[in-house]
């Protein structure tokens, strides 16, 4: 498995992923639409802040925050943990192991293929965000605008690696759904999915040390809030560090786990 061969296979893997997304387009669209939580939270928080700002957040700030969160969530969301535990249980993983390419790359390529379709949803939201009431709450600093895309890419990588690690747990445990659920509970609270982390008070301090903030809140903070330049270093640095940690963890778990694989029904 050389790096060169992997690189050459990537475009093909990506095309397969696109074809898969297209084959189940109705399903896929519904799946995209399930990400409604930011919109519900938007409705809730804007009406809370309608008459007077809520802890420095005006109604327009909340609109900007949750639309930005919706974009990041759309672009970073994936279901690799569910897919992997299904493949492991059904034995389909055996096929993937036979291929001369690391399954991490194969899964990543097929999930990256979903991004163009998710963009179809994310772009109109971004436009609404730009022209709508949130425009005053957005950043105008060119450096931060330039960092938004890399930050989203890092958020995607952290999310993918973490979910890949959870998926690899299926080698050790039969029921990984409970763990995936627990993950999502922690994510909802500590990533800023339900509300800006600042509003959480003491919990926000804890959130600074967990990976979840770097999976959603970091790019959203870049897009919306005005910060000092050294905060930027902390945000991006944290993202890089967590990307490295989750990636290493995912690969270690994978290598430990794959040895136990018995190809059930394969």
């Amino acid at each position: 498995m050389t790096a060169g061969r992997t690189l050459r296979a990537l475009p093909t893997l990506w095309r397969i992923g696109v074809a898969e997304s297209l084959a189940y387009r109705a399903e896929f669209l519904v799946w995209i639409l399930t990400t409604t939580q930011p919109l519900i939270m938007l409705g809730l928080w804007t009406s809370v802040a309608r008459l007077q700002p809520f802890a420095q957040y005006s109604s327009a700030d909340f609109v900007a925050y949750f639309l930005a969160a919706l974009i990041v969530r759309q672009l970073t969301g994936n279901w690799v943990a569910w897919q992997m535990s299904e493949d492991i249980r059904s034995g389909a993983m055996a096929m993937r192991l036979l291929r001369p390419i690391h399954p991490f790359v194969a899964y990543a390529a097929s999930h990256a293929a979903a991004i163009p379709f998710r963009t179809i949803i994310a772009v109109p939201v971004a436009v609404i965000l730009l022209v709508g009431s949130g425009s005053s709450a957005l950043t105008s600093d060119p450096l931060r605008i330039a960092l938004v895309l890399p930050s989203i890419a890092l958020a995607w990588l952290i999310t993918f690696a973490l979910l890949f690690a959870i998926g690899a747990l299926a080698f050790f445990l039969t029921q990984t759904m409970a763990i995936a659920n627990l993950y999502f509970a922690l994510y909802s609270l500590f990533s800023g999915y339900l509300m800006p982390l600042e509003l959480l008070g003491p919990v926000a301090k804890l959130a600074r040390w967990l990976p979840f903030r770097f999976m959603l809140s970091a790019p959203v903070e870049l897009m919306t809030r005005t910060q000092h330049r050294d905060d930027l270093v902390r945000l991006l640095g944290g993202q890089l560090a967590w990307a490295a940690i989750t990636l290493a963890g995912a690969l270690v778990l994978w290598h430990r786990g794959v040895r136990r694989f018995e190809a059930v029904g394969g």
Partner: protein, 263 residues
């Protein structure tokens, strides 16, 4: 009718026995749903940390009661209806639905409660706990009539939710792989955590008439608080019965286009 109820009880016993076979999983799932319930209270705690009211007339105890109703309806839906309907989608795909149609019981009754997640009982208990806590905070207990009405409307809320889920499941006769539709419905249903008055403009119209969140939790909570006007009470009950009738009609139409996958 009694036959169907006995069937439900029997199916529940089988599911409970199956769940008890994996006791660790049962407890883990129970703990998980308790954790979710607490997590879902966080936004409410944060909002009321700074505000006295979330919408006119909705202070902390009354908003908590809506949350309690939501937890209750959610427990019933996730505990029985959602798993059963997922089972139905699976059966339609595999062709096993043939056997359901052959049985001398109404097919809709048969599939509406074919599978349970018994640990959702913990959620139901949490719902009661939240409502009781909210009532203590409020310092004023509902009259017997309000309590009765609150319970009746809880039933109406569950029926309305069931009907919506049923319509979604019926869609799987035409478009086989659409289990996601139920996830979508579930994520929209999350709105029901909040009194519908919190939302404004288009949102409120949608949540009152298109996806009747108001019927599911806000109206029952208002009934328990003794705030629901008679016309609204009637509209709520009528609305949920109409939804139920609609789901029945759609189900009957859908079942006609079932073409067994096995043969």
């Amino acid at each position: 009718m009694i036959r169907i109820l006995r069937l439900f009880a029997l199916q529940f016993r089988v599911s409970a026995a199956a769940a008890m076979a994996y006791r660790a999983n049962f407890l883990a799932e129970g703990a998980m749903s308790a954790a979710w319930t607490v997590l879902n209270l966080v936004p409410l705690i944060v909002v009321f940390g700074q505000r006295d009211e979330i919408a006119p007339g909705w202070d902390r105890p009354s908003a908590l009661i809506v949350m309690g109703y939501f937890t209750g309806v959610h427990a019933v839906i996730e505990g029985t209806i959602s798993p059963s309907l997922q089972d139905l989608v699976e059966k339609i795909r595999s062709g096993a639905f043939d056997y359901v149609l052959l049985k001398p019981v109404d097919a809709q009754a048969m599939i509406s409660a074919s599978r349970y997640q018994p640990w959702r009982v913990f959620d139901l208990l949490a719902a009661v706990a939240i409502v009781v806590y909210a009532l203590i905070q409020r310092g004023e207990w509902p009259s017997a009539a309000d309590l009765a009405l609150g319970l009746v409307l809880f039933g109406a809320g569950v029926l309305a939710t069931y009907a919506l889920w049923m319509v979604c499941a019926a869609a799987s006769f035409w478009v086989v792989r659409l289990d996601n539709l139920m996830f979508l419905l579930g994520s929209i249903f999350d709105v029901a955590r909040w009194p519908v008055q919190v939302f404004h403009g288009v949102w409120r119209t949608v949540f009152t008439f298109v996806i009747p969140v108001a019927v599911m939790t806000t109206a029952p909570a208002m009934a328990l608080l003794g705030r629901l006007e008679a016309t609204w009470t009637l509209a709520t009950v009528a609305g949920s019965l109409a939804l139920l009738a609609l789901s029945r009609v759609i189900w009957r139409t859908a079942i006609r286009s079932y073409t067994s996958a096995s043969s």
